[in-house]
Symmetry: C2
């Protein structure tokens, strides 16, 4: 704890709960507190150390868990509009007969409404930061900003015309517009987001890489999601998608590679060598029957892995608690080893490692003085969280998004006692219900 | 709908929601209602058909989902006391260093308290009926009865002395006592429950089978949970566990075989031939790295499969919604086929097929006139359930136990607006917290 804080006034003290800092030493305080001034965490420690502080506002955790807000490293937030539209279908039927036709009907307003509903769902289930790729991405940035959520957003770029910007060169213009519009924003980071090696020619990839480098921004891309993608790449380039990206010169520590389901040993070496970050999306990969990413191997190699839900048309929710439970269990059964992906490892993937994956490791993902105050509180006085021998275990194997009661993002409470403060939830639901009716009439 | 009901008074009308009957025709009513008199469902249909009925009480579903209560076909309810005590360990370390020592400390009171907390968790997450195997099982029956839950319970039988009844012959006496005590009970069914082929000699199995047959009761047993169990059986008997059970003459349509992770084609043929019922426990099997049961194959063979959570020390919760999501996704990725285990198939496994697995197919598991009224209501006006194209999809892929607001068991409301009516939750949590402290002091 920064003792000097004792002499200052604290804006918000989140107190009286088990504090999981998720710092490098995994420090926990059994009855702890987090002090927030403005946007920043200024101190963390035992609750009794703060007793004599002048405090403008105390948020009482009532003996629950106080922890960093969760980070969702891969979403297409606006796909909430398509949640449950079609399931249990072969990938190409699902895409060609449902998702692509539905997406062709999208516009700025629909994308905004879908993203706002997604923000509501994410905040309600403990997520404070997400990374998004989609069309009309300025609408997603606006929805995140209006919700007061932290977000990394980028317009999807590919070789064919987009329903948003038209021809590819306009896609780069649009991305530059986003960079310019949102630069220095306290919540929104723009990323450069080529869709995938299979929808982007090497020139596009190279240009995206240069643009990201120039502005020191993350690049986000889908990589090796399915076996057929890998086979096609080998056919076309004589290289795996990761090999092809290496060859195109875009592997770097700023690159977030989403999915990474099908990887060779050589791919893993390349990811490690270039310090590429990985977003693991187990629920989507399972539901689409894409495969199981070799996450325990990536972790053994020291590669930074965050968790993501993917779009909720292939999930069908944005609850990181479910993703944690799934990730922990899937790799145990897949490797026949109950000791892999332990609770603390998984918890890191959706806090500090998730933040690092997005290039925000110095900003969020842990409770440490100097970081932005992205903090959530869980109510653990519930039958399914009783007794509590170990908070890490409960968070991964027993808790649900609905146990989160309070959320603070960038120092500002956005949810208290389960009530959203920044979004009119009823209107957000009505808007998307109306959009769903419009979409449904076209099938 | 039974039209004669219109002339009678209805005790409870659950109305104004999408009714999923889960009957053999998968009948759904978009704006439907369920009429309950005494313990029984007397009619189901469109809400407007009931407008002129005299109704003592209306439960308004507010446009949510009305469906049969969920069935959990395999639990060790009292293991709530050990929830999160130890995780991410090799199976034998987990059992020998944590679970067995903790279980040796159990007594009637602890088992009752653990089971009561489990009942609270299960009702809160939509389960109305569960099947349990444990020690001091009369305590579990009493906890279920006090909670007014439907349950199939049986004392575990094995070749070595039990902390409850002592030597095996007393185990049969104890089971007979249970049969006698609970016969004709409206909620509790006693089962005969030999632990497993590896802990029960053929004589025990045979005796258990005869006892069950005599009283026409279910037999519940763990079968083929791990590869090492199968190898040991082949070593010892020259047969797989299923083959050995067939040889011992205990395979029958009254037998519920829990887990069935490692099965040969011959095993599957035997299960089909004898109409054996199967309890699928994906989360526990994944967490303990036991393997993936070949459920799509069993279903193709027409074998009745229900879902179960197993004890919550290896899960770590009793929420059937999470089990559904896991089951649907796990088999898709395991078979590389996104069309297996569709939402409706999975939904059946925890309603009508789960009820059939327990021999209660005529009593519960669907909303049909003449069945006992085990009915739940979900609130779907939430961001993560918006929009709703297809209720089946939402229940499996998007909903959580915490979306259940109302539960009626055997015609009696046991939860309304998320508030338990039959259990003092605060006390139930305090009791188990105290037990956890006692247990923890012994490690």
């Amino acid at each position: 704890m920064t003792m000097s804080i004792l002499n200052n006034e604290i804006d918000i003290l989140v107190s009286n709960g088990v504090v999981l800092t998720m710092d490098s030493g995994n420090t926990q305080f059994k009855n702890g507190a987090v002090a927030i001034n403005g946007e920043n965490i200024v101190a963390v420690g035992s609750a009794d150390e703060f007793l004599s502080c002048k405090t403008r506002r105390v948020i009482d955790a009532h003996g629950g868990i106080i922890m960093p807000g969760l980070v969702n490293t891969h979403t297409h937030a606006s796909m909430t509009c398509f949640r449950g539209l079609a399931d249990d279908l072969p990938l190409m039927t699902w895409l060609n007969e449902y998702i692509f036709p539905a997406e062709s009907k999208l516009d700025y307003r629909k994308v905004y409404c879908g993203a706002l509903l997604a923000c509501a769902e994410m905040i309600l289930s403990g997520t404070t930061c997400f990374c998004d790729m989609y069309l009309f991405e300025d609408a997603v940035a606006c929805a995140a900003k209006d919700s007061e959520m932290r977000a990394v957003v980028g317009e999807v770029l590919y070789d064919f015309p987009s329903p948003n910007y038209g021809p590819l060169e306009k896609g780069f213009e649009y991305t530059k517009m986003l960079i310019d519009k949102w630069k220095n924003d306290s919540l929104i980071t723009i990323a450069v987001e080529p869709h995938s090696p299979y929808l982007c020619a090497p020139e596009l990839l190279k240009k995206a890489s240069l643009l990201a480098e120039k502005h020191n921004l993350p690049i986000v891309i889908h990589v090796s999601e399915t076996k057929s993608e890998v086979l096609r790449s080998q056919d076309q380039h004589g290289l795996t998608p990761v090999g092809h990206l290496a060859n195109s010169g875009i592997l770097s520590s700023n690159l977030l590679a989403c999915h990474c389901v099908i990887l060779t040993d050589e791919d893993i070496s390349l990811l490690r060598h270039f310090d590429v970050k990985v977003s693991h999306n187990p629920e989507s990969n399972m539901k689409l029957a894409s495969g199981i990413a070799p996450i325990p191997e990536l972790l053994r190699e020291g590669i930074c892995v965050g968790l993501g839900t993917d779009g909720c048309a292939s999930n069908n929710n944005l609850d990181i608690f479910l993703e944690m439970d799934m990730a922990a269990k899937l790799h145990k059964v897949n490797t026949s080893n109950p000791t892999v992906m332990g609770a603390n490892t998984v918890l890191k993937m959706c806090t500090i490692e998730g933040a690092r994956a997005l290039g925000l490791g110095n900003i969020t993902g842990s409770i440490e003085p100097g970081k932005k105050a992205d903090v959530i509180v869980l109510n653990t006085h519930k039958p399914h969280l009783t007794p509590m021998y170990n908070p890490d275990s409960h968070l991964v194997y027993s808790a649900k998004g609905s146990d989160v009661t309070t959320s603070i993002i960038n120092g500002k409470p956005v949810m208290e006692n389960g009530r959203l403060l920044t979004i009119d939830v009823k209107k957000a639901m009505e808007d998307v219900n109306r959009i769903a009716k419009e979409l449904q009439s076209t099938f």
